[in-house]
Structures are given as C-alpha cells and as structure tokens.
C-alpha cells in the first residue's frame, strides 16, 4: 500500500476543496545507522506535485526533517470536472501517482 488519498468526489463549481494525502514512506534521512552499523542511504521524497486537469496547481519540496509517512494537505478551487493527479518520486527511483476524478456540478 502506497498512499491514502482523500478528496471530495462531487462539488459545486467554485468550491474550495481540501486535498489530503498520507504517503507510506520511510523518509530515510541518510543520518541513521542500520543494524550493521553502516549508514542507511538517504531516501526521501524530495518533491511532490498535484495536477488538476493536466495543469500543475500545487508543488511541495520536502526535506529530510519531515518524518516517515508524511501527510500533506492543501486546497484547490474546483472549476471543471477533471482528474486530480498526485505525483511523487523518491530517491530510490520509485515513481508513484494517484488519480481521482473530481466532478463539478
């Protein structure tokens, strides 16, 4: 399991919608030693983006101080029925995306 996304499904035009996402990720800082005493390589999610109808509406830079399993929430104004895409890649090269259709009435 990668993430839990929370976005309303149907809203009226102009509504300010809260997007919430909880990402399952260790957010390894690169400063921690493993059981064998060697440093665990850094592996965080340095950047997170949100596209709405293909257009970027939100971007966050994330730093090693952010704890494991990060939670992000932000707002967007619902203007048309379109896909909300959430995209992130970690430093181990794992790419992820989640998409939800936001229906505007």
């Amino acid at each position: 399991m990668v993430a839990m996304v929370n976005i309303p499904e149907t809203v009226t035009a102009g509504t300010v919608v809260e997007v919430k996402i909880l990402i399952s990720h260790p957010m390894e800082t690169g400063f921690r030693t493993g059981p064998d005493g060697t440093l665990v390589p850094r592996n965080i999610i340095p950047e997170f983006r949100c596209l709405y109808g293909g257009e970027e509406v939100f971007r966050a830079e994330i730093f090693p101080a952010v704890a494991a399993n990060p939670f992000l929430s932000f707002f967007l104004r619902a203007e048309q029925t379109a896909e909300v895409e959430l995209l992130w890649t970690d430093e181990a090269g794992q790419e992820h995306s989640e998409a939800r259709l936001l229906t505007v009435q």
Binding site: M1, N6, L22, P26, M27, A67, N69, F71
Partner: protein, 252 residues
C-alpha cells in the same frame, strides 16, 4: 527511602494523585496529536489498517485460503474480539494474545509460513482486526482459566526490576501524571495497540511498548510474545476494563 532516591535520580516530577479515575494516554496528549488520531485521513495508523484489510482477503499458504474464507466480513466476525483478548487457547491450553492468535491461524489454518511478530504484515493484520473494536469498551474474557495469568501479570507489574530498580506500578500507578524528561507518565492503559508511535515512525504492538519501558529502567526485556508479556497484557486489560479501544491510536 531508597525508592524515593531512585525516583528523584531519574527526574520524576511530582506525581499527581490520580487514583480512582482511569484515563487513557490519549487524554494527556497535546491537541495536535489528538487531532492526528481523530482524523482518519491524517492518522498514519490507517495505512496499516488499510494494508491489513487487503491481507484479510488475500489467499495464503498450502490451504490457499484467506482470513475471509473462514471468517467472512471482519466487521461482523471480528467486532469486539480485540477488546476481549488475551483469551484462552484450547489447542495450546494456555493464554494467547491477539497477535499470537492471528499467527496460529496463519500457520495452522492457512498452512502458511509463520510471520515474525514485528513484521509489517502481522502488525497490519492485528491493526485491521483491532480496528473492528474501535470505540468498544475493553471487556476481558471471563474464562476462569485466565485468572492465574492476570495474577501473575499483576505481580510482575508490582515487581521492581532493572538497574533503576523500579516497578511498572511505581510509574504507572504512583507517578502517573508526573513528568519523566519530556514525557508525561500515562497510567499505562493498553487501550490502543497496535499503535502508531511517532518515536517509532511506525506501528508497533503492546509488547514493543513493554520492551521500551523495560529498557527504560535498564531491565532485560522478556521478549515479544513471552508468557510474561502476555500475563502483563492480561492484567493491564483487566485494569483498563470499560475504557474504549482506540484503533488505531497515535502516541508520541
């Protein structure tokens, strides 16, 4: 009194006289952490619950059966189960905790390889099963064969241990509400396990919490799944009877 000296040496604050009213560790957390626990969308423990829900329906082992093949809808079959554990295990003729019980179903009923107690999958299954008791009052199993286990747990709870020579009760009965370094000492009720602990950056079971407290007093931990921990768990669940299960709980 030697005990007072020890207590001062590790910096316990003035204990609040908290006798009588029982209080979950939730009550003494700051508003941010309580909000994190209360909001399903923000509670990181829900990641494990969701994983557990997927494992519940996944066929496993030689029997190629899922938990659901035998137990059906967990919302029905598992409601209140976690609130009643540890229970009596007929096959083993002894007490068993929920994690142990799930482990047995996996090996005996699914014919699958045993999972480590602290493995992500077993913690996720336990979190999912416990979720089905969210908000229900802790209701210890009335089986009289469990009485001896609870007695043993009570005795352990009151036994001083480790280089600091402190009993669980010294902190969780006598000093509850006081400060230990940055932490407020809770009454030590097992209302929310497995729990998401920020310090662990992950989810862990009650026995992991016991390990933390035992290493805190520099005692040799009994080990997850040990008869001692199951006894402590059985006693603590009876001591917390009636308090609501928090699934999943969040703690600092």
């Amino acid at each position: 009194m030697i005990r007072c000296v020890t207590v001062l040496a590790i910096g316990l604050g003035t204990p609040a006289a908290a006798a009588g009213d029982r209080q979950s560790g939730y009550e003494i957390m700051g508003p941010e952490l309580r909000a994190m626990q209360d909001d399903e969308a923000a509670n990181p423990g829900m990641l494990w619950v969701t994983e557990g829900a997927a494992l519940w329906v996944a066929p496993e082992g030689a029997a190629n059966r899922s938990c659901a093949s035998c137990h059906g809808d967990a919302a029905q079959s598992m409601a209140g189960v976690a609130a009643r554990y540890p229970a009596w295990n007929e096959a083993g003729q002894g007490p068993i905790d929920l994690t142990g019980r799930i482990g047995l179903c996996r090996t005996r009923h699914q014919g699958a390889a045993a999972l480590a107690r602290d493995s992500r999958a077993l913690v996720a299954l336990a979190a999912f099963v416990t979720r089905q008791s969210d908000g229900l009052p802790i209701a210890p199993d009335p089986d009289p064969r469990l009485a001896a286990t609870r007695e043993k747990g009570k005795a352990l709870f009151e036994t001083r241990m480790g280089q600091l020579n402190l009993a669980c009760a010294d902190c969780h009965d006598d000093a509850a509400g006081g400060q230990l370094a940055a932490a407020t000492i809770p009454q030590g009720h097992p209302t929310g396990y497995p729990q998401y602990r920020l310090q662990w950056e992950g989810m862990g079971g009650l026995h992991r919490r016991f390990e933390n407290c035992m290493s805190g007093v520099r005692a040799e931990p009994f080990g997850a799944g040990s008869p001692e921990y199951i006894a402590l768990e059985a006693f603590l669940m009876s001591r917390a009877a009636g308090l609501p299960v928090e699934a999943p709980a969040v703690r600092p």
